[in-house]
Structure formats: C-alpha cells, structure tokens
C-alpha cells in the first residue's frame, strides 16, 4: 500500500541537510507551510538556499530561519515588504545573499524545473537590471532574455487536503506557488489541514497529482 503520510513534521523533514535548496510555498501568509518550517528551525539545518516569493514578516515563516542565520541565500521577488525587517537587517549585514527575480519569472522558472524544461526565453526583464549577464534574443520581433530552471532538493508546501497517494487540493489563493514547487522539489513535503481516503478527492479537481508529492503531514 502506498502511504506517503508521515506522523509528524519532525519526521517529515528530518533528513534535510545543510546546504540544501528548499522551495517554500506561500504568498505572504497565504498557503504558507508554517509547521514544517518551524520543524526545520528546530532540526537546525543551515546554509540553506531558500526560494520563496517573500522573506517573511516579523519573525514568522522563513523570517524565523533568516533571523537565526540558517538561510545563506534567498531567491525572491519581493524582499521589501513592510515588516520584513529581519531580512533587511541580515541582508545589510551580509549574512544572506539575494537573487531578485520578477514574480512571473520566478514561478515559471520553478515550473520549468519541475517540467524538465531547462531554460526559457521570456520578455520579462528586458532592459532592466534583471537582464544583466543573461543571453538576449529576439523571437518574432519580441526581445527576450534567457532564464534557467529552478529545482529544489526539497519543496515545503501547504495544501488543504491530501490522500495517502499525495494527491492535493488547495484553499483559494493559498494555492499560489505551491503546485509548481511541488513539481520542482526532488522531495516534496506537503503540510495539509486534512487527510482523506484515496478516491475521495474528485479526479477532475485534483490540482497536484500524487506523482509530485513524496511526503504528507497533517497540520497539528
């Protein structure tokens, strides 16, 4: 019997190693996998390359990891939200590096990583500082820059419901980056509100098929 359900967040993230690349779902607090993030904080892994649309508020979410110098590099579209003072401080101290990425390019690079597309040409960022050092080419008169896939050793995501096969559905805009990160994580760990029987989720409405999910843990 296939069973991807783990008993606790601790067990689900126990093997994360120092230096891992981790994709963190969520847009602000929506669809953020708080519990596995805090379990990782307690587990202690460091020198993490984090991919996350935001750097966390106050000391919440990945801001907690940043505050304790666990994250050495952040790939992010919007690091300057009000209350993101933890990231700002650590960035100014040189404790964390930043790769700033337009949000659509970030999402597409992650999807590409999950889809076996190694790179793509996008018009986003042409003529901006994002284009620096990147290959530039025109297609049908549209100037584009080359962007590379992002893949994670792990993806930490949040969904609403899962079954033991790892099929997932989400809640509203809590969906955001979670489905593409599920695709791009070598080991994708989903924190969910509810675990249901196999067959209970409507096959037409499953957003992330279990093939993209390795571990599931119920939010406590």
């Amino acid at each position: 019997m296939i069973n991807k359900v783990f008993n606790s967040a601790e067990e689900a993230i126990a093997d994360v190693w120092d230096g891992s690349t981790i994709l963190f779902g969520g847009f602000g607090g929506a669809g953020l996998p708080y519990e596995i993030i805090y379990a990782l904080y307690r587990q202690g892994a460091k020198e993490i390359t984090a991919v996350s649309n935001n750097p966390g508020y106050h000391e919440e979410g990945i801001a907690k990891l940043i505050a304790h110098d666990r994250i050495s590099k952040l790939l992010c579209s919007f690091p300057v939200q009000k209350d993101s003072y933890v990231f700002r401080e650590k960035f100014n101290q040189g404790k964390v590096d930043l790769e700033l990425i337009p949000q659509g390019t970030l999402a597409e690079r992650i999807r590409a990583g999950g889809a076996g597309i190694e790179a793509f040409y996008t018009p986003t960022g042409v003529g901006t500082e994002i284009a620096e050092g990147k290959d530039e080419q025109e297609f049908d008169g549209i100037p584009c820059i080359l962007e590379k896939a992002i893949k994670g050793d792990f993806a930490f995501i949040k969904a609403k419901k899962a079954d033991r096969w790892g099929n997932l559905v989400y809640n509203k805009s809590g969906r955001n980056f979670n489905p593409v990160m599920a695709m791009a994580g070598k080991i994708t760990i989903a924190e969910v509100d509810e675990i249901v029987e196999v067959g209970e989720l409507d096959p037409e409405s499953i957003v992330t098929p279990g093939v993209f999910v390795q571990r599931v843990v119920k939010r406590s």
Binding site: F27, G29, A30, V80, E108, P123, G125, G127, V180
Partner: protein, 222 residues
C-alpha cells in the same frame, strides 16, 4: 478659474472612464486600486490579482476574511461569482501571454517612448519587483497613474529614465494630476488638461516635448 491639481480620487475616476465592460484588469497599489470604486456597478469587470485570483472582489469584511484569500498587498479580499483560482505560473501565464486587457500601475518615472520605472527608488539598496515587470510587459494596455511632478517639483515624465527600469516601451497612457498623455510612436500626445491649467504649464512640468492633440480638452472631473 480654479486651478487645482486633481486629487488621487479624481485621477482614479478619470481612468475608470477608459474601462470597458468585460475588461480583465490588474490594479497596482496606490491610486490604481482606487479605480474600482469608480466603475459602473451595473457592468461586469474582471479583476486579476497576481497571486492567482481572477475575479477578485472587494476587501473582505472581518467576518468573511480567509487568510488564504488575499490581494497582492496581502489584505483579505473576496471572490466574485465566476471567479477562479490559479497557481502562480498560470496566473503569470495570463499576464505574460497578453490575456490581461488593462493594467493600471503607479509610476515613479515614464520616458518619452513609454519606458516605465516604478519598482525601486534610485540609489536605494533593496527594491521589490513582485509582479511589476511581468505586468508592465504583459498587459495589452498599460495605464500609469501618478503625480505629474516629484516632491521637488521636478518632472516625472522624462526624456530618459534615470530610475531603475521596470519595462521598456510599455506605457499606453499616462494619467496625472495635471494631464492625460498618450504615448505614441511620434511621441507624447497631450490629450487632456486638468481644469484651470494651460498646455504651456503642463509642458513646463514635463521634460520631453509634448505634441498637442487636435482634440485637446479639459479633464472632466465631475
């Protein structure tokens, strides 16, 4: 005659007149989000929000707020009937793939040829891009809503940007507190002027040369 710059609400109200029923619209923060207050309530407009909401409704009342249903500023919102949710890559596929009719964005600078700067203040270490670059290149029409001049009274409509670029050649029309200016291949065309101002005064507050529209008129602010 009363010579007063338009208020933020008046700029938003003016922009609202450009919208057509059925338009799919992305609103930036600042003046842009005010636009939805001035569209006809009898007409259907579809608001897109970058994190994967199509058919975004108004801000949520406290009792209906769901932390998983937010706008781009992370405030709780509602969904209208007919709305739907997408993941971030599909949401930006809508944007980059030219499926958004109108984006209304704030601006720090706009250049003569429609280059836009709106994501980062000059000479400041950190800036946040979010969806700005994708939306600026992706929407079929990009309307910029901003004050005509900066805090020092200097022009924000310039020959060449000296702020960090958001996107090149992307702006369709600039709506300021002094004027409505269309970006065309021939240059910037002054179409409308705030009540009480003259074309000369608008030109003086604008770095590049303005072409006067043959139909130049006053901005209707009623």
């Amino acid at each position: 005659m009363d010579k007063r710059r338009l208020t933020r609400e008046q700029i938003a109200k003016r922009i609202a007149k450009e919208l057509r029923e059925g338009d799919v619209i992305n609103l930036g923060i600042g003046i842009p989000v005010l636009v939805s207050n001035f569209v006809s309530p009898e007409s259907e407009y579809i608001y897109h929000s970058e994190q994967g909401v199509l058919g975004m409704g108004s801000l949520a009342e406290p009792h209906e707020a769901d932390p998983d249903l937010v706008n781009a500023s992370k405030e709780p919102v509602t969904l209208v009937p007919g709305g739907s949710f997408s993941h971030s890559a599909d949401s930006f596929a809508m944007v980059r793939g030219k499926h958004i009719d109108v984006a209304i964005l704030g601006g720090m600078q706009v250049s003569e040829n429609g280059d836009l700067a709106n994501w980062k203040v000059k000479d400041v270490g950190l800036g946040g891009i979010g969806g700005a670059m994708d939306i600026a290149i992706g929407a079929k029409s990009v309307y910029v809503a901003m004050t005509h001049t900066n805090k020092d009274g200097g022009p924000k409509i310039v020959k060449k940007l000296d702020y960090p670029v958001t996107a090149l050649n992307c702006v369709s029309t600039i709506f300021t507190d002094m004027a409505v200016i269309e970006v065309t291949r021939d240059g910037l065309v002054l179409k409308e002027i705030a009540p009480g101002f003259t074309a000369e005064e608008v030109q003086k507050a604008t770095e590049p040369k303005l072409i006067l529209s043959p139909n130049l008129k006053e901005i209707a602010i009623s």
